[in-house]
């Protein structure tokens, strides 16, 4: 039994079957409960832990269907359209889920119905089990009005009007109901009656293609053996559809319910089993924590989360195509080995602020340039190396608004020999930012020939805050 503080009193948040038999139901004040039963075992309710557990059970449930949604605090919805035949039918599927969860020590109630809302209502407020299509109205009739889950005010209004069971609605026209109790009520009624449906919002991206292998006995670390046939199976599917995968996921389902997922991104649509296997092997070798098989894996699943049409392979005709293919294969390999974040490219962005104008992004990301790169000019206008955040420097300026005479950075004093500026860059007021002062940029060359890009932040004499100088970058 768990307790939690609700409306200023300790109340029972959840109770197991034994406690419920003693009349200790959720919502009861803890003091009352203690009066009724002297010795009760109580722990404090931990909603976060409950949610984490629910997430883990949902992860585990991935083996039954790719489309899963969780409904805190205690419900998981599976979209089992088209998957029941794998388990031998709806009843067998439910039996399997119940048996496995019971073995892990959970008390389970299940229901299968035509819509998510109907399944939810039958599971929480009805007898559960499989609701066959021709028995819908009969089964719905027995549900209490609470099954609509409409909120307390509507519930009270319904009770006052004498509605106790859903069968009271079935023969009535819907429009007056909607007018009196709100359209939400009739919407939900229609969903429970399986007339309309709202699709589930899956917790995880739904794979476009997947190949899986179940093992009768849990296996240890033999992923390469299974990986061969999984890769061949998946790439066969991809080939038939003329597709190549860009984002892959390899799931290891441990016998004790834990799941390890390993993602892999590819720069070019990939449908070659050998390459796919090699990339995954690299990825597995590069893992910081090696995969822990525990008591063994009982299922492996290789899925394509995103794909692109596979371009016709044209080799040997154009050396340039071949070369760029080599480069993207290299990017794939490096990303698999050193992490997708380590392999980057630069994109040009449409902004005045220098530190935002060139942004490193993972090579495999879909980010696109939103501006043009600068062209070659007479002298460089932008530095080769850019500091972000820019370090502050101490500056001696001859005239307040002029270029610096001397500045000090990292303990070294630089005498300015040549200077050009200012190039004024105004803050981007349309962005929500604390960076609201104008910058005046100067290109500077010191007496030794080093070239710097400094800016003065703010104006002398006009603002309350003192003017500061920063080093933004270094020119070659």
């Amino acid at each position: 039994m768990t307790v939690a503080k609700r409306s200023n009193a300790l109340r029972i948040a959840a109770a197991d079957a034994a406690a419920q038999r003693l009349g200790l139901h959720p919502g009861l004040a803890f003091t009352d409960a203690k009066l009724r039963v002297a010795h009760i075992e109580v722990v404090e309710h931990d909603a976060a832990a409950d949610l984490a557990l629910l997430e883990r059970i949902a992860d585990w449930g991935d083996r039954y269907s790719p489309i899963i949604a969780i409904e805190p605090p205690d419900m998981i919805l599976f979209d089992i359209t088209g998957v029941t035949h794998i388990f031998g039918g709806e009843a067998e599927l439910v039996a399997d889920i119940e048996a496995r969860l019971a073995r892990q020590g959970f008390a389970v109630r299940t229901a299968i119905a035509g819509t998510a809302r109907a399944a939810r209502a039958h599971c929480r407020f009805g007898r559960g089990g499989v609701v066959l299509p021709d028995a819908v109205s009969e089964r719905v009739a027995g549900l209490p009005v609470e099954a609509l889950e409409c909120g307390l005010d509507i519930l009270i209004a319904l009770r006052r009007a004498g509605f106790l069971y859903l069968e009271d609605f079935l023969s009535r026209p819907r429009e007056p109901l909607a007018a009196r109790f709100g359209p939400e009520l009739t919407d939900r009624l229609a969903q429970i009656l399986e007339e309309t449906d709202r699709s589930l919002t899956p917790r995880r991206p739904v794979p476009e293609f997947l190949a899986e292998q179940r093992f009768a006995d849990p296996i240890g670390l033999m992923e390469d053996i299974a990986l061969d046939s999984l890769a061949a199976d998946l790439c066969g599917q991809l080939h038939r559809q003329g597709q190549g995968g860009r984002s892959f996921e390899l799931g290891f389902y441990r016998a004790d319910g834990k799941i390890e997922r390993i993602g892999l991104l590819s720069g070019q649509p990939l449908a070659d089993p050998g390459t796919l296997r090699r990339l995954f092997e690299m990825r597995l070798d590069a893992l910081a924590d090696p995969l822990d098989p525990g008591f063994g894996f009982d299922m492996m699943r290789l899925a394509v989360l995103a794909g692109d049409p596979l371009g016709p392979v044209q080799s040997g005709l154009d050396g340039k195509v071949e070369a760029s293919r080599e480069v993207s294969a290299l990017v794939d390999r490096l990303s698999a080995r050193f992490g997708a974040g380590a392999v980057q490219r630069l994109i040009a962005r449409d902004t005045h602020l220098p530190e935002r104008a060139s942004l490193p992004v993972p090579s495999l990301s879909d980010a696109r340039d939103s501006a043009e790169w600068l062209g070659t000019g007479e002298v460089p206008r932008r530095p080769l190396f850019l500091f972000y955040p820019a370090p502050q420097v101490d500056v001696v300026a001859e005239v307040p608004d002029g270029p610096p005479r001397r500045f000090r950075w990292r303990g070294v004093s630089h005498d300015v020999a040549r200077a050009e500026g200012p190039e004024r860059i105004a803050p981007e007021w349309w962005r929500r930012t604390t960076d609201t002062r104008t910058r005046d940029y100067f290109r500077i060359e010191d007496s030794e020939g080093q070239r710097f890009w400094l800016f003065r932040y703010g104006f002398y004499g006009r603002e309350v805050e003192p003017v500061r100088w920063f080093l933004q970058g270094i020119f070659p």
Binding site: R333, G449, R451, I474, F475
Partner: protein, 261 residues
């Protein structure tokens, strides 16, 4: 005497086995500055590794400009791959796309690999140098490391040997060690020579410290010209001479006078 001769023979045999001696067949990348290319026998060899030393951290930009200039002079459809450590980014700033683009490097195609340490950097280097589609591969290493030894540099040289890529090992504040590099340079910034007294084009002092198979060395002040994408020599710095444009005009005028004669 006999011993010395035998050692000499062994040295020769070793040299013939050494991968880097067989370079140059894949083509040379000229710098664009005639006298330098002459000393190099035409330019920097592809399919080989070259070392560029930046003595102080402050010399990084100049050394990078040298490496970037060579990269910009290679074919445009062969991207540049640059390997840096995360620490270098914090210390010396991020490579800036617009600055690279101004030099003539295709910033859109450039691949930047951010690694944790020298060992990882070398691994990426070997993998990248083997790739047939890349142009220049810049490996930026900071400070001294025992991993940057002859073996490591041989490995890099072997990886690039049969390719069209060029390895440019950029050593910042590092000690030179024995290596299989074909050339070794020390690069530092130098005062620019803009006639108007403004900060001018990238100007650097490039010292050729070593060249395999040829004794010739040299020390030049080079200027990278953004427009022509070539290295050249800066106009004499110091005393400000008449602007270049003006001088050209005068020469034209003189030529005109000569004709009208």
């Amino acid at each position: 005497m006999d011993k010395a001769r035998r050692v000499g023979a062994l040295r020769q045999a070793l040299a013939s086995l050494d991968p880097v001696v067989r370079t140059g067949q894949n083509g040379l990348i000229s710098l664009g500055a005639g006298p330098v290319d002459t000393v190099l026998g035409g330019g920097l060899a592809r399919g080989a590794v070259h070392e560029i030393f930046a003595e102080r951290p402050a010399d990084l930009a100049a050394a990078s400009c040298f490496a970037g200039g060579v990269a910009a002079r290679m074919e445009k459809d062969r991207p540049l791959l640059w390997v840096r450590s995360r620490k270098a980014q914090e210390e010396a700033g991020f490579l800036y796309g617009h600055g690279l683009a101004e030099m003539g490097i295709a910033a859109r195609d450039m691949i930047l690999v951010v690694v944790e340490d020298v060992v990882e950097g070398l691994r990426v280097g070997v993998e990248a140098l083997r790739c047939a589609g890349l142009g220049a591969v810049v490996l930026e290493f900071w400070g001294h490391s025992r991993h940057l030894d002859l073996t490591a540099s041989r490995r890099l040289a072997l990886a690039v040997e049969n390719g069209a890529a060029m390895g440019l090992v950029l050593r910042v504040a590092g000690e030179p060690a024995p290596s299989a590099a074909v050339t070794r340079w020390a690069v530092a910034p130098a005062p620019s020579s803009d006639p108007y007294g403004l900060p001018g084009r990238p100007t650097l002092s490039a010292r050729l410290l070593r060249q395999r198979g040829a004794g010739a060395l040299g020390h030049w002040h080079l200027e990278w010209n953004h427009a022509t994408q070539a290295f050249g020599f800066p106009a004499l710095s110091g005393a400000v001479v008449a602007p270049v444009v003006d001088r050209q005009n005068r020469a034209q005028r003189r030529a005109g006078w000569a004709r009208t004669g």
